[in-house]
């Protein structure tokens, strides 16, 4: 059926024919068609059903102002839900299905719902479905609701490109006004970006077949584009500005074609010019939702862009002068057109699925299409996103941008200026940020107040089936604010977000309340201007590039010896080594560490250097422990607190010399500790006398731990005396390793003698090889983080954040002295003496033991007090392991008043199961600490 296609009109490529299906019916179209234009050309008017009553719906607008024709579209393996027919370009082989219909939009069985509409007024669901219970009704209602179907398939290549850009002037809308403005600004040397959501510039000029500045429109447009490009201006087509955010950031979505992810431009513009034009407003009259009733502007768009004449016998109903030429244009294209003034007579559309006539004053005028034009409505959404105010203009019966806000102007039809020459002058002035010339508008419009007493149904929101009666009901029930009205009736909450329904709804409310539209006000315009896929926000941030972990310099070496890599504190680290059963492997690693020596990659440990003459004073303030007494070459364990006295991190601090300290903090806290140090440095200190360098990644650290650690280290030939007296626990040495500076810290996270050897990362591999080679003779084993976690738990060494929580203070984990004795101020000091800090029932770190033949306690189990009527949590298990060293399960826990209860029994509660454990000191291995000094 090409009956509606008009020869020699439109921008489509008629040499090629594209096939597609709609609701199972085969159709054809041409490149350049949208699905809506192609369907109209195929003589199909019913393209969807409304949301609530499943009334048949035809297309209303020709672009983003249509909320009726929404399809699920499949093309090959790709399926996309909720594609608007009016803005989706046709591709060969598309299978389109109208949403929420069965079996088709034309014969939808749920159409019977319309018969029950008297029982389903606005907000009926708030008044019923309460007894016995909403849950009884909800599943059915959920199935009835919803539009598109999501197929659940993932399009692997669907990845948005995201770009930052900036410009002096961003112009939204490449119609005549936008083009003129872009040329003016670019001539003055501004960097200009002009965007338009169509795939071709020209805007409304395709509706009117008139000349622009005495040139045929197509020539004028071509000349402007060439001149803009010549001046360095850029034009982005198929690109929609969908939101203006703080500080003139404009979000642009650039379409890449069906099934391809769009591109996101984050455009920072010094100035923004809104030249988005105007759309047609609907007319509220009886049966105005019938398929075949359309926007008059939309009809001209279908004709001008796609060569589609929407009807053969057209009734044109208008209240404004903008449609003066419309009838002529349609007649030229071959339609029979009768024009009607809205006047004060009551129009009624006659017909069901097929429109038959327009009744005016009881007189029937047969037609197959009614074009309704309730007046031009400037597209001011972006203006509002950008914080611009609106004012009601009585003469043109529209909200238009009020005076300019900083960095933003509107021009042309978007600014309420509809005559071409005036719009061009307005745009050129706005482009150069000059005052707009005063214009005397020739545009005439009659105020359009709906007949609120009509017995017939008059539709306001076509998708959501909101009628005048619904609004009247809402008003009667005192949902009188415009936001209440919207939320109660769902007016304007359709997928076009009120583009077609807002003004009509306001007019009804104004009539009902005897107020003016400006007094009723508008609802908020919120981004996005058109719906945008979530993918737009994701881009490359996916899978491995979603918060990727840091990589060790020695990763290849670890993999060579079979490391199972796991993520710990933001780093990918060896969890254990080998392919055998992990539990058994980890157990063996622990035993090797206890009996011989373990080799551990500890490179992620922090190495933050504090340097300068005030370093000592500074570090003594930032840390809980007293550090002024730390001698060069010595190491001390210290806690960092928040000002609330909560343990934030623990670190070993090395004093290298008088003016230099190295803070070895937890690997996951390096950034946080560094930031905290910088904050205190710049606040209240002389920053020229203290410097903080995070050198963590300059150094690779390999820890040797175990009875044979010293023996292994001695084989590396770094010429240092390793005897316990010469190099005792908690001291530091600098040495050379293969002519490279090396640092050796004798500190332990296992309870056995340990040496942390650090060399510049570029030499890590050499150190690793030397240790691996030397390690063979002492049965050294590579061990991963899992075994290390067990080793440290056996010794009762905490992991901050795991064995502490947001309430833990230093005296809860056995560090009481500085709180009572430290002689200078430190971060968090006062907070350690509050009512809560002095409390008797603080949760303290303890160990828990169960019998050797019992299974280990579940980490996360709670400790309970059973003395009351129901169990009360008095703490919980933070770490729990089967200890290979001790051959029985061990656990660490935070327990109310725990240290005083050592030796007692406590009930352990997990998901209702209760067992007993014995409270112990948090140290299970070498309690005397003699081994550390061996």
């Amino acid at each position: 059926m090409s009956g509606f296609r008009v020869q020699n009109r439109g921008l489509i490529d008629r040499h090629k024919t594209l096939s597609f299906q709609f609701d199972g019916k085969s159709c054809t179209g041409h490149p350049g068609d949208t699905l809506a234009s192609a369907l109209l050309a195929n003589g199909i008017k019913i393209m969807g059903r409304s949301f609530k009553y499943h009334r048949p719906r035809g297309v209303w607008g020709a672009w983003f102002d249509d909320s009726n024709a929404i399809f699920n579209i499949s093309l090959g393996a790709i399926q996309l839900p909720n594609c608007p027919a009016a803005t989706t370009y046709l591709e060969d082989g598309m299978q389109a299905r109208s949403v929420n219909t069965f079996p088709s939009a034309r014969f939808d069985i749920k159409g019977v719902l319309d018969w029950f509409s008297p029982f389903l007024p606005a907000g009926f669901y708030y008044k019923t479905f309460m007894r016995p219970n909403w849950h009884l009704f909800e599943p059915t209602i959920r199935k009835m609701a919803g539009l598109g179907k999501l197929d659940g398939n993932i399009i692997e290549e669907y990845q948005s490109d995201q770009i930052h850009q900036s410009c002096d002037l961003l112009i939204v809308g490449a119609g005549p006004a936008g083009l003129a403005a872009a040329l003016s600004a670019s001539q003055k040397g501004s960097s200009v970006v002009l965007v338009d959501d169509h795939d071709i510039a020209g805007g409304s000029s395709y509706q009117q077949q008139s000349n622009i500045e005495n040139k045929p429109a197509s020539l004028w447009i071509r000349d402007q584009i060439a001149a803009i490009a010549g001046n360095g201006g850029r034009i982005l087509l198929s690109t929609t500005a969908y939101g203006i955010y703080d500080h003139n950031l404009v979000a642009l979505i650039q379409d890449s074609g069906f099934g391809h992810a769009p591109r996101l431009w984050r455009m920072r513009a010094k100035r923004i010019l809104i030249a988005t034009g105007a759309i047609d407003r609907q007319i509220t009259f009886a049966n105005n939702d019938r398929p075949g009733i359309m926007s008059a502007v939309g009809a001209l768009e279908f004709l001008g862009r796609y060569g589609v004449l929407v009807g053969k016998k057209i009734a044109l109903l208008s209240n404004n002068s903008h449609t003066q030429n419309t009838a002529n244009l349609l007649r030229e294209a071959g339609a029979e057109v009768e024009t009607f003034d809205t006047g004060d007579n009551s129009p009624v559309a006659i017909g069901g699925k097929k429109l038959r006539a327009l009744n005016i004053d009881g007189k029937s005028h047969s037609c197959d299409v009614i074009l309704a034009s309730g007046g031009l409505t400037p597209v001011v959404h972006l203006w509002r996103h950008g914080g611009g105010r609106l004012e009601w203009n009585e003469a043109i019966q529209a909200f238009i941008p009020a005076q300019a806000t900083t960095g933003m102007r509107a021009a042309g039809a978007a600014n309420g200026i509809y005559e071409l020459d005036e719009a061009l002058a307005d745009a050129r002035a706005a482009a150069l940020d000059q005052p707009s010339p005063k214009v005397q508008s020739a545009y005439q419009i009659k105020a359009l107040l709906p007949d609120i007493n009509s017995k017939k149904r008059q539709w306001i929101d076509f998708q959501h089936d909101v009628t005048v009666k619904d609004i009247e009901l809402a008003a009667r029930e005192n949902y009188s604010s415009v936001e209440h009205l919207k939320r109660y009736t769902t007016l304007g909450m359709a997928s076009d977000q009120g583009k077609t329904s807002n003004m009509a709804g306001l007019a009804v409310m104004a009539s009902l309340q005897n107020r003016t539209i400006s007094e009723v006000g508008t609802t908020t315009f919120r981004p996005p201007f058109v719906p945008v896929p979530f993918e737009l926000y994701r881009g490359v941030k996916r899978q491995q590039l979603f918060n990727p972990p840091k990589r060790l310099a020695l990763e290849a070496e670890h993999r060579n010896v079979g490391a199972a890599m796991g993520e710990y504190g933001g780093w990918l680290r060896p969890a254990w080594y080998g392919d055998d059963d992990p539990h058994n492997t980890i157990r063996k690693e622990v035993i090797s560490a206890r009996t011989h020596v373990a080799i551990i990659d500890a490179s992620p440990l922090g190495k933050i250097e504090i340097m300068g003459p005030d370093a000592e004073k500074f570090i003594n303030f930032v840390f809980y422990n007293t550090l002024t007494t730390l001698k060069p070459g010595k190491i001390r364990y210290a806690l960092m607190l928040s000002e609330r006295g909560i343990v934030y991190d623990d670190a070993v601090i090395t004093r290298v010399d008088q003016n230099r300290f190295i803070i070895s903090c937890s690997s996951s806290h390096v950034e946080g500790v560094n930031n905290a140090l910088e904050g205190w440095r710049q606040d209240g200190n002389d920053p020229d006398r203290i410097f903080v360098h995070d050198t963590t990644q300059n150094w690779a650290t390999i820890t040797l731990s175990g009875p044979k650690a010293g023996e292994l280290l001695s084989k590396l030939d770094m010429s240092i005396d390793l005897s316990p007296d010469a190099f005792p626990h908690m001291t530091f040495r600098q040495a050379d390793f293969l002519s490279v500076p090396a640092r050796i810290s004798r500190v332990s996270f296992t309870g056995d003698p340990s040496y942390e050897i650090s060399v510049p990362t570029l030499h890590a591999s050499a150190l690793w090889s030397a240790i691996a080679k030397a390690g063979k003779s002492v049965q050294a084993a590579f061990i991963g983080v899992e075994a290390l976690s067990i080793l440290r738990a056996e010794k009762g060494y905490i992991i901050v954040g795991k064995d502490t929580d947001g309430e833990t203070m230093p005296h809860d984990i056995g560090f009481s002295q500085p709180r009572l004795r430290k002689e200078s101020a430190f971060v968090g000091d006062r907070a350690l003496h509050t009512h809560a800090a002095n409390g008797q029932n603080r949760r303290q770190l303890v160990g828990l033991m169960v019998k050797g033949n019992e299974c280990k306690i579940v980490t996360g189990a709670h400790l309970i007090d059973q003395s009351g009527s129901k169990p009360r949590s008095i703490g919980y298990v933070t770490s729990s392991y089967d200890s290979p060293t001790l051959a029985h399960p061990i656990a660490l826990a935070l327990l109310e008043n725990g240290t005083a209860r050592i030796g007692e029994s406590v009930a352990v509660w997990n998901q209702g199961d209760i067992r007993q454990a014995t409270i112990a000191s948090a140290c299970f291995y070498d309690k005397g600490g003699g081994l550390l000094n061996a």
Binding site: Y125, Y158, Y245, Y537, G645, A836
Partner: protein, 417 residues
């Protein structure tokens, strides 16, 4: 006039063109003097007035609201309701709320559509699962329902989520609170408003408090755009803007205001029947009865009173949700917005005296105000009526900051909702 809402009355009214429904509430002119004035006509304020009138017999109550009722966070949230908190004090508070929600539609004769479809917090590693067990046990001991799900059970409940091998964070399991769910947010405000109005409460919309009247250290009135209104007691429930009133009345609060953004997609046929949270992805999702996917995440990083969305947090939340449920990549965002929330240092609310005699505050709910509406109103009404705390609200008294007895749910849960 038809007052009672029921299917029968809808049918009856249908034959009269629905002309007989009475207004849901009146639009009274303010009197010069009330016994109690509630500042803020959001969920908490409306619920407070309702319970004051119903449970405590206070009849002379006005609510002053600067905009339309429910225009603050009540109408701007993601409608999640849950009581899966760590500390027993929080469990008691939020579980009271869930229990009140369970009966609310019938109590108010207004369908608030409380849908207990289950709320699932998903965990992505062994370390997270340990925290999950800790939290789940805390909930059970605190009197809230909770159950551990393994990865397969999670998949059965929410096949939409990412179970692919290349998922950045695999799903190890979840803790589900079956009684958690969503409600229709506006309906909660409207239901309370209608019920309070029926009990004689004057709900005065478009009435902005411009200043407070304090005489001899006691608050005796408010200056509004409709003139001064006096009362003997005042309750402020103005989430997001609590500091503004504090400044008028001369006290300071442990509150920063932040925008919290929310997102809704175009309606889809049902794809997920449970609320799924992931703090690792920094996002959560549910599907409304209308079919829109409702998505939320963390607070903005910049303190503000700007009730609008912005891109940095959008990118965080939406990229997170797509990695969490990759099939959503092609689903379209229809609308996003923001509410201004009061954020306290411990992410727990403040209920108690303001420091100014006669003025009590209910604020600091952070991201969790909507779920707490019934309990917040119930407990605040108790405080306003009796001058002393209900046992459940006592731990949330503002004095906890001086004694440092914080209820730090933020630290306990990782991400605040």
């Amino acid at each position: 006039m038809t007052k009672t809402y029921s299917a029968f009355n809808i049918i009856k009214e249908a034959f009269k063109g629905h002309k007989g429904w009475s207004p849901a509430w009146r639009s009274p002119k303010p009197k010069a003097q009330y016994e109690v004035i509630i500042i803020g006509g959001g969920g908490h304020g409306l619920a407070t007035a309702y319970y004051l009138a119903k449970n405590h017999g206070v009849k002379d109550i006005a609510i002053v609201e600067k905009g339309w009722l429910g225009s603050g966070n009540t109408g701007r949230n993601t409608t999640a309701i849950r009581s899966n908190y760590f500390y027993p004090e929080s469990c008691a508070l939020y579980d009271l709320s869930v229990r009140l929600y369970e009966k609310l539609s019938i109590e108010l004769n207004y369908n608030v559509m409380f849908s207990q479809r289950g709320l699932m917090v998903v965990f992505h590693s062994e370390a997270e699962m340990e925290m999950a067990v800790r939290g789940m046990n805390a909930m059970m001991l605190g009197g809230t329902d909770a159950r551990l799900l393994d990865a397969n059970e999670v998949k059965q409940r929410a096949p939409l989520l990412n179970y692919r091998a290349d998922a950045r964070y695999p799903i190890h399991g979840a803790v589900i609170q079956e009684r958690g769910g969503t409600a229709r947010h506006d309906a909660v405000a409207w239901g309370y408003a209608r019920a309070a109005d029926a009990l004689g409460v004057d709900i005065i919309q478009n009435c902005e408090v411009k200043d407070v009247i304090i005489e001899g250290g006691t608050m005796t009135g408010v200056e509004t755009n409709l003139g001064p209104i006096r009362a003997s007691r005042f309750g402020a429930a103005i989430a997001g803007h609590s500091s503004v009133l504090a400044r008028m009345a001369g006290y300071q609060l442990p509150i920063h205001s932040y925008a919290l953004q929310a997102f809704v997609s175009e309606p889809l046929k049902p794809v997920i029947d449970v609320l799924a949270f992931s703090s690792t992805y920094g996002a959560y999702i549910s599907q409304s009865d209308k079919g829109g996917l409702v998505i939320g995440g963390g607070l903005d990083r910049v303190p503000s009173y700007g009730q609008k969305g912005n891109m940095p947090m959008q990118e965080n939340v939406l990229s997170g949700i797509v990695e969490f449920a990759p099939a959503l990549a092609k689903v379209k965002l229809m609308r996003h917005w923001a509410g201004i929330v009061d954020v306290t240092p411990d992410s727990s609310p403040l209920i108690g005296p303001s420091g100014v005699e006669g003025l009590y505050i209910n604020c600091g709910w952070g991201t969790g105000g909507f779920k707490a509406i019934p309990a917040g109103g119930y407990l605040f009404a108790h405080l306003l009526a009796t001058g002393s705390h209900h046992e459940i609200s006592r731990p949330f008294d503002p004095s906890r900051f001086q004694s440092a007895q914080l209820i730090d749910e933020g630290a306990a849960s990782g991400i605040a909702h």
